[in-house]
């Protein structure tokens, strides 16, 4: 093989590689995004009959302006790395789908508290990252909020100085806003969930 022919074949292999890379990568991403739609989520009756059904009563489903938050908007991180991590975790959900852990409303109800606690813990850990994709404290108009809400929001996000260091109350959206898109579990007790003193994030 001559030197130029060698160069040529390397170039061709490289180009084919790039081409296939784009196809496979695009395919992978498209497939992953397909699992990131509401239609995909409620293709399982476990989701459609329980959590989706009750969510249709809430403001995140229907409201004055028609802006919606679908399942993945709140339950799947938007950033790529976090998203892939969540998707890998979701394989556990596939296992439970197959064994039918929550395949009746009764079974779902029996596990609701446990499942809800998973979500609460995650939201607390990530500082309610998925809420903040749409809601931003910086742009809240306190004049347009009810006085009760304005008061709480200011209190929760206030920055103060303690021992010379900048601090805040250490609160995040989920501390107060539990059960806004789905029903609260029967075991939930608001007296054990006072913002800042909640027992629901412990293990």
């Amino acid at each position: 093989m001559t030197e130029s022919a060698k160069k040529k074949s390397t170039l061709i292999i490289l180009l084919i590689g790039i081409f296939l890379g784009i196809i496979f990568w695009g395919g992978f991403n498209t497939a992953m995004e397909m699992t990131n739609t509401e239609a995909f989520c409620i293709s399982c009756h476990e989701m459609e009959e329980n959590v989706y059904e009750e969510y249709t009563d809430t403001i995140h489903y229907m409201n004055r302006t028609g802006v919606r938050a679908t399942c993945p908007d709140c339950h799947v991180p938007r950033e790529w790395v976090h998203k892939v991590v969540r998707k890998i975790q979701a394989t556990n959900e596939l296992y439970h789908k197959i064994v039918g852990t929550i395949d009746t409303p009764e079974k779902f109800e029996a596990r609701r508290f446990e499942l809800a606690k998973h979500v609460w813990k995650t939201m607390k850990r990530t500082d309610s990252r998925e809420c903040r994709n749409c809601h931003d404290y910086e742009y809240m108009d306190f004049d347009k909020q009810e006085f009760r809400s304005a008061e709480r929001h200011e209190e929760a996000f206030e920055q103060f100085e303690e021992h010379g260091a900048a601090r805040d109350a250490g609160l995040t959206c989920i501390d107060c806003h539990k059960g806004i898109a789905h029903r609260l579990p029967e075991e939930y007790d608001p007296e054990k969930d006072i913002p800042g003193e909640s027992i629901y994030y412990d293990d």
Binding site: I59, F147, R183, E186, P190, E191, I194
Partner: protein
């Protein structure tokens, strides 16, 4: 013959009063024909009052001065207790559930809300900025 006459008279009387009653009747739709579009009812806003409403009479259950559409009361949960339970009320700057609400009809004190007090909005209601349809002449103590 006599029965025939009575029937005729009766049917005449009922016919006249019946038809006149028909003209006097006004349905909730008003005099509008059945095929017409009904007029839109007025929209009202719920009153939100900082500090709450004053009572109109001594034993009036306090009125709700804030929106309640997002708080649900069901067998599982009572959304009002998020702020109005005894432990959370002070922090949330809300009125706590009074002692009387923990007592059953047999006079027994419970650790939780008595079932006869569980459905808050049976007695406590929000207010709209609408004018009353019927004048209220009730006078309390």
């Amino acid at each position: 013959m006599k029965t025939k006459l009575t029937t005729l008279t009766l049917s005449l009387i009922f016919g006249i009063t019946g038809s006149s009653a028909l003209f006097a009747l006004e349905s909730l739709r008003g005099d509008e024909p059945l095929t017409a579009e009904s007029s839109r009812p007025d929209k009202f806003r719920q009153e939100v009052v900082e500090g709450g409403f004053d009572r109109s009479y001594e034993k009036q259950p306090p009125l709700i001065p804030h929106k309640i559409e997002k708080y649900h009361i069901s067998l599982r949960q009572n959304g009002c207790l998020k702020c109005h339970s005894r432990k959370t009320a002070e922090r949330e700057n809300a009125k706590p559930t009074p002692e009387s609400h923990f007592i059953t009809r047999d006079g027994k004190r419970l650790n939780r809300l008595s079932t006869r007090r569980y459905f808050c909005n049976q007695c406590h209601v929000p207010q709209m900025n609408a004018t009353p349809l019927v004048q209220n002449v009730f006078e309390g103590d």
